[in-house]
Symmetry: C2
Subunit: 659 residues, 2 copies
C-alpha cells in the first residue's frame, strides 16, 4: 500500500470531526480514537466486498459503541460502498440522511445491526458468531467461514448484558468473535475511575476468553494483536489503548470530545496537528484510491466463494435459508388435522410445544432455546439437539439465566441470516429482555419470543412472577406482533404467523394452566386477522365480549350465562391487536358493532382496552399486582369467573338502558 | 449451645420440605442445601432482634435467591419473630398467608426486600450497603454499624445485573456486604455446566472483591469463612459448596429438588436420612428453644444501642430520617416565588435541576446520581459532593453505565431507610431499569427516577434513543407515579409530590429541549390532582385539548388558532394520570365535559389515550419509531405543530357535526 496507514486513518478523523461539526451534534471522540485500529481492520483483515454488501460469507462488523457512528459511515464510504455518499455524510444526523445519529441497519447496506443502546451490539455479535458456527457445521467451510468483529467502548463493557454475552460466548467458545475494546479510560461523566475499578481483562479471562492488549495507535502492535486474535480458538478481547479524540490537540484524552462537536477552532487546530489540509468532506485522491483498493481486497475471495456455491450440493438449501424463505409447504396442515380430530385441552405453552414438534421437524433453520426454563417454556422438541461447543450443528441453546443476553443473541442470529431463532422465558421477565425486544422491532428481525406463564394463572410464585402490565406494554412497541392465543388451534395459527413474518419479531404470551380447545373445525388461519368472532349471539345481540388467551374460555362461559337470561352475546377472540388494527374498517366494525355493550376480559391491566370497548363499555381486568396462591384461587379472588363477570355486565346493560 | 447445629439446620430442612409438600408447590432444594450455612449465620453472626424487626442498626439479610423462600420463613419463625407463625408456614403459598411464593417485604416484618426476579436481591443489597456506609459517615458508628448479608444462587450470579452490582460494590469498596453464594452446581435446566464455564471467584476478584470458599455443610469451615469475610475490608463473596436438596437421599444433588415438592415418599425417606422424627410442622422443644435463645443473642446489643441513641446529639435527625419524614416546611416556597417572579424558559430537565438545587439543600437525606449522564440528566447540584470509597458522606453517586444496577441499588437504599435516592438516565433506557422500577412499585419504595430526553425532542441521536412507547408503558405499572411536567412550575410541583410520596416510587419524564414557563402565578400545587385546566375556552367550548409535557405548549398554540376561528378550546395539562384517575368523578368530569371534542396531544403512542378522549375523540401522537434529525425537524415531520394539528381538529369537529 502506497499511502501510510496514519494518513488513511486521518481520513476517518477528518470526516468524523467535519460531519459532527456540520451537524453541530454527534460524537467525534470515538471515531478519532479508534481510527487507527479501524483502518488496519478494514484495510488488512476484514473480509467483505463493498460491491455486494449481502455476500453471505462476509465478515460481520458490529459497531457496538454506536454513538461513534461516523466511524462506520467513514469506513463504508472510504472502502467503496454505494452509500453513504459524501453528501450523505455531509448531511449526517439530518432528516432523510442514511447517516443517522446511531448506525441503523435499515438505512444503509453494510450496517449489520442497529446499535446505540449500550452493550447490545456486542451481545448481538455473539448471536452472529453462533449463527456462523452453526451454519458452518451444517454447510461446511466452503460456504460458511467468517469472523465477527466488534468495536466496543467502556459503556458496552460496563452494562450488565455484557456479562451475559461474555459468559455465553466463552461457554460456547466462539473463536470467530473478536472484540476490539476502545480502552480510552473515558466515559461521559469523566475518567472511568469515577465509576469503575475493574480489571476487565481478568474478568474476560475468568469467562474463558483470550485477551490481548495493544497500543491502538501503533500499527504494528495492532497487527500483532489481530493476528493473535484470529489465531486463538477462543473468543478474543483486544484492549486497544487509545486516546479519545486523537488528533484534536487541545481536547484529546478528555470527555469533552465524547459527545459534542469540537468547535471550529479545535477542528482547525486538529487539521494542523494531523497535517490534513483538505477542505471539509474532500478527500485527497491518493488517500481515497488507497482506501478503494483496500475495499476490493476480498473481491477474488468472493468470486471463488461464488464458484464454490455454484457447484455445492447444498446450494439450493443454503440460498433458501439465507434468503429467509421457509421450506415450501411447511408441515402444519397435518398437525392442524390432528387437532381437529383429537382436541388437546392443554396449556398454551404445551400447545406451543406440540406445534413446535411439527414446525422444528419441517424447518431446519429454527434454533430454539430458553433462559433456563426449558421444561417450563416447553421450547425443546425432539428435533432439537443441544448446540454446544462440541456440536455447533445442534439446534437448541441452553442460554442460562441470561434473558437479555438470549434476546440480544437471537437478534444477532436473525440479522446474520440463515437461522430463525426462538427462545423462552416467563412473560414477566420480558421486562429483562425488553431493550432487546425493542431492537428486534426496530431492526425488523425475525425473532420469536416464547413467553409463558402469562398471567396470575402462574399461581403460587406470586406477584414477582405474575405479569399484569406486560401484555399491554408489549403491544405498545411499534412493529412487534404480540400474540395471546386462546387454545391449541390459535397457538398453532400464531406460530404460523410468527414464522411467516419475515420483517419483524413476534411474541407469544402463553398460559401455564390448561385451556380447553375451543375450536375443533378445520378453518383458515382465523388468527391472521388479529381478531374474529368465535361465538355468535343466539338471542338478540346486546353484548360483545372481547377476550384473549385464557380469558376466552371465561368469555364463552359468561356468554352462555347471559344467553340463559335472554341476553344475546357474541364472543370475539383477539389474539393479536396489531393485526386486527390493520384490517379494513368494515371488518373491524363487523366485530364491534355499534349499539352493543363491549366488554373486555383480560387478566391484566385494563388501560388500553378503551380502544375497543369505548368509554361506554366495560373493562374487566387487573390493575394491581397479583398475589401468591393457587391459580384457581387467584382467578376467583380477582373476579375472573363467570359468576363475578355476568352481574357486572347485566348492571352495565341496565345503566345503558337508563341513558 | 446445647443442640448441635446440624439438628438446628434440620429444623429448617423439615419445615421447607413439609411446607412445599403441603402446598405441592415451591422450591425445597435451596433451603435444604443452604440450611447449614443459614443456621450458622443466624445463630452466631447476624445482628438482629426478632422483638424489634425495625431496629435501624440491625444487619440486613437479603435472600436474593428468593425462590428458596421457605428458608427465610423458617429462620424468622425459628428465631422468634411474631410472624410467620407455624400456621402461616402451614399455609405456605396459599391465599392470605404471609408466606408467599417469594419473600415479600410488605407481607412480613423481617423480610427486607421482595426477591425472586433473579439478580435483583443482590443488587438491592449493594444499595443497602451504600446506605449503611453513608449513614455511618453522617451519624457515626454509635448509631450505624451493621452488615448486609446476602444468599444468592447461580441464577443471581449469571444475570447481567450481577455484573453491575459487583462492579459498583467493588468500586465503592463496600466491605459490610457479604454474599453467601449457594454453589450447588445446579440450575433449573440441569447442571450449571450446561450453560456456563465461568470462574466465578476470578470474576469477583477482577472487580476488587474478597473471595473465599468453604464447605457449606462443614460448620467449622463455614465459621472460618464468615470470620474471614467480616474481617476483610472489601466486599466478600463466599462460595459455599453445597448439595442442593441436602437430606433428601434419592434426589439431593439434582435439579429435581429445585422447584417442586419432593413427594411423600422422598419426604419420608429424608426424615429417616436426617433422623428427624417429628411430625410435619412440629418442632422438638429443645430445638426450638435453642433457636429462640439464639434469636435473643443481640438483645443486649440492641438495648445498648437504644441507650446510645437516647443520649446522641443527632437523635432527632436520625429518627426523622429513619422514619422517612421530610424536614418540617422543606424549602420549595422560595423557589416557586422566584419562578413566579422570573419565569424560566428552560428544558424540564434543567427545571428539575433548579428545583433540585433548593430541595437537595433542604433535604439532607436525598442522594442523587446518574448512570453516566450527569450533565444530561441534570441530577447533580451544588449540595451534592461525590459519594466515594474515601467519602461515604458524599451524596452523589457516579453509578457508571449501569442503569439497572442503579435502579436496584436505589431500591435497596430506599428500603434500608434513612436516605431518599434519586437517579437519572435517558427515558428510553427506562427499559434497562424496568424490572427494578417494577420492584420499586411492588415494594412501595420511595425512589425517584429522573428520566430525561423524553420524546423525539431528543433529536439527532435517533430512534434508538427516542422514547415513543415508554411514558405509556410506565403508566401501566401499578403503584408507579409517572409525571410528565409541562414547564418549570409543574416540574417543581411534581418533585414535591414525588418526595412527599412515602409509599411508592415516582418517575419524572423530562424534556431535553427548552420549554416556555406556562404558569407565572403562584398557586397551590395544581399537579397534585394529576390534571387541571390550564386554559379555559374563550369562545363557546367545543374542544378540550389534553396534553402532557412538551406538548402542552403545542396544545396552547393550537387552542389559540382554534379560538381565532371562533372555536372555543380548553387546554388540560395532565402531568400524572394515576393522580387524576384517583380524583372524584365530579372533578374528572369537570375537566372532560361531555359534548366537547377531546383531543390528546402527546409525542408518543396513542394507545391508552382513548381512556380520556373516548372513541369519538382525536388522538395525536406517534405510533412508530422516530428518526434521527434535529428536534424541530422531527416535530414538524411527525405533525407536532399547530399547523398540522388544527386542521385535524376542525375536520373532526365537522365529522361530529355530520353525525
Amino acid at each position: 500500500m502506497s499511502v501510510e496507514p496514519r494518513l488513511l486513518a486521518n481520513a476517518i478523523r477528518a470526516l468524523a470531526m467535519d460531519a459532527v461539526q456540520a451537524a453541530n451534534s454527534g460524537h467525534p471522540g470515538m471515531p478519532m480514537g479508534m481510527a487507527d485500529v479501524a483502518t488496519i481492520l478494514f484495510t488488512e483483515y476484514m473480509k467483505h466486498d463493498p460491491a455486494d454488501p449481502r455476500w453471505p460469507d462476509r465478515d460481520r462488523f458490529v459497531l457496538s459503541a454506536g454513538h461513534g457512528s461516523m466511524l462506520i459511515y467513514a469506513l463504508l464510504h472510504l472502502t467503496g460502498y454505494e452509500r453513504p455518499t459524501i453528501d450523505d455524510i455531509r448531511n449526517f444526523r439530518q432528516l432523510g440522511s442514511p447517516c443517522a445519529g446511531h448506525p441503523e441497519n435499515f438505512m444503509l447496506e453494510g450496517i449489520e445491526t442497529t446499535t446505540g443502546p449500550l452493550g447490545q451490539g456486542f451481545a448481538m455479535a455473539v448471536g452472529m458468531a453462533i449463527a456462523e458456527r452453526h451454519l458452518n457445521a451444517v454447510f461446511g467451510s466452503d460456504l460458511v467461514d467468517h469472523h465477527c468483529w466488534v468495536i466496543a467502548g467502556d459503556g458496552c463493557l460496563m452494562e450488565g448484558i455484557n456479562h451475559e454475552a461474555v459468559g455465553l460466548a466463552g461457554h460456547l467458545q466462539l473463536g470467530r468473535l473478536n472484540v476490539l475494546w476502545d480502552d480510552n479510560k473515558i466515559t461521559i461523566d469523566g475518567a472511568t475511575d469515577l465509576s469503575t475499578s475493574e480489571d476487565i481483562l481478568g474478568r474476560y479471562q475468568a469467562s474463558g476468553w483470550h485477551t490481548i492488549s495493544c497500543d491502538g495507535h501503533d500499527f504494528a502492535d495492532i497487527r500483532r494483536a489481530l493476528d493473535e486474535a484470529t489465531a486463538d480458538p477462543r473468543p478474543s478481547l483486544i484492549a486497544c489503548r487509545t486516546i479519545i479524540g486523537y488528533g484534536a490537540p487541545n481536547k484529546q484524552g478528555s470527555s469533552a470530545t465524547h459527545g459534542s462537536a469540537l468547535g471550529p477552532d479545535e477542528v482547525a487546530a486538529a487539521r494542523v496537528h494531523l497535517g490534513w489540509d483538505s477542505a471539509p468532506f474532500e478527500l485527497p485522491a491518493p488517500v481515497l484510491d488507497s482506501w478503494r483498493t483496500a475495499g476490493r481486497r476480498s473481491a477474488n475471495e468472493h468470486q471463488a466463494w461464488q464458484q464454490r456455491l455454484a457447484a455445492h450440493p447444498q446450494r439450493g438449501e443454503f440460498v433458501r435459508r439465507m434468503e429467509g424463505r421457509l421450506p415450501d409447504g411447511f408441515a402444519q396442515d397435518g398437525y392442524l388435522d390432528q387437532l381437529a380430530a383429537s382436541p388437546q385441552n392443554v396449556a398454551s405453552r404445551k400447545a406451543s410445544e406440540l406445534a413446535l414438534e411439527a414446525l422444528t421437524a419441517a424447518i431446519p433453520e429454527m434454533i430454539g432455546g430458553s433462559a433456563d426454563l426449558t421444561g417450563s417454556n416447553n421450547t425443546k422438541t425432539k428435533s432439537l439437539a443441544p448446540l454446544t461447543r462440541d456440536n455447533y450443528a445442534g439446534r437448541y441453546i441452553y442460554y442460562g439465566i441470561r434473558e437479555f443476553g438470549m434476546a440480544a443473541a437471537m437478534n444477532g442470529m436473525a440479522l446474520h441470516g440463515g437461522v430463525i431463532p426462538f427462545g423462552g422465558t416467563f412473560l414477566v421477565f420480558s421486562d429483562y429482555c425488553r431493550p432487546a425486544i425493542r431492537l428486534s422491532a426496530l431492526q425488523s428481525a425475525r425473532v420469536v419470543y416464547v413467553m409463558t406463564h402469562d398471567s396470575i394463572g402462574l399461581g403460587e410464585d406470586g406477584p414477582t412472577h405474575q405479569p399484569v402490565e406486560h401484555v399491554m406494554s408489549l403491544r405498545l412497541i411499534p412493529n412487534l406482533a404480540v400474540y395471546r392465543p386462546a387454545d391449541a388451534v390459535e397457538t398453532a395459527e400464531c406460530w404460523a404467523l410468527a414464522l411467516g413474518r419475515q420483517d419483524g419479531p413476534s411474541l407469544l404470551a402463553l398460559s401455564r394452566q390448561n385451556l380447553p380447545q375451543l375450536r375443533t373445525e378445520r378453518t383458515d388461519n382465523l388468527s391472521a386477522r388479529g381478531a374474529y368472532r368465535l361465538r355468535s349471539a343466539t338471542a338478540s345481540r346486546r353484548v360483545v365480549l372481547l377476550a384473549t388467551g385464557s380469558e376466552v374460555e371465561l368469555a364463552l362461559a359468561a356468554a352462555e350465562q347471559l344467553e340463559q337470561g335472554g341476553i344475546g352475546a357474541d364472543v370475539v377472540s383477539m389474539p393479536c391487536w396489531s393485526l386486527f388494527d390493520a384490517q379494513d374498517q368494515a371488518y373491524r366494525e363487523s366485530l364491534l358493532p355499534g349499539g352493543a355493550l363491549c366488554v373486555s376480559i383480560e387478566a391484566g391491566t385494563t388501560l388500553g382496552w378503551e380502544r375497543y370497548t369505548g368509554l361506554g363499555g366495560l373493562r374487566i381486568g387487573l390493575d394491581r399486582f397479583g398475589a401468591s396462591a393457587p391459580a384457581e384461587d387467584l382467578f376467583k379472588r380477582f373476579g375472573f369467573t363467570a359468576e363475578a363477570v355476568v352481574p357486572q355486565i347485566k348492571s352495565a346493560l341496565n345503566s345503558m338502558g337508563d341513558q
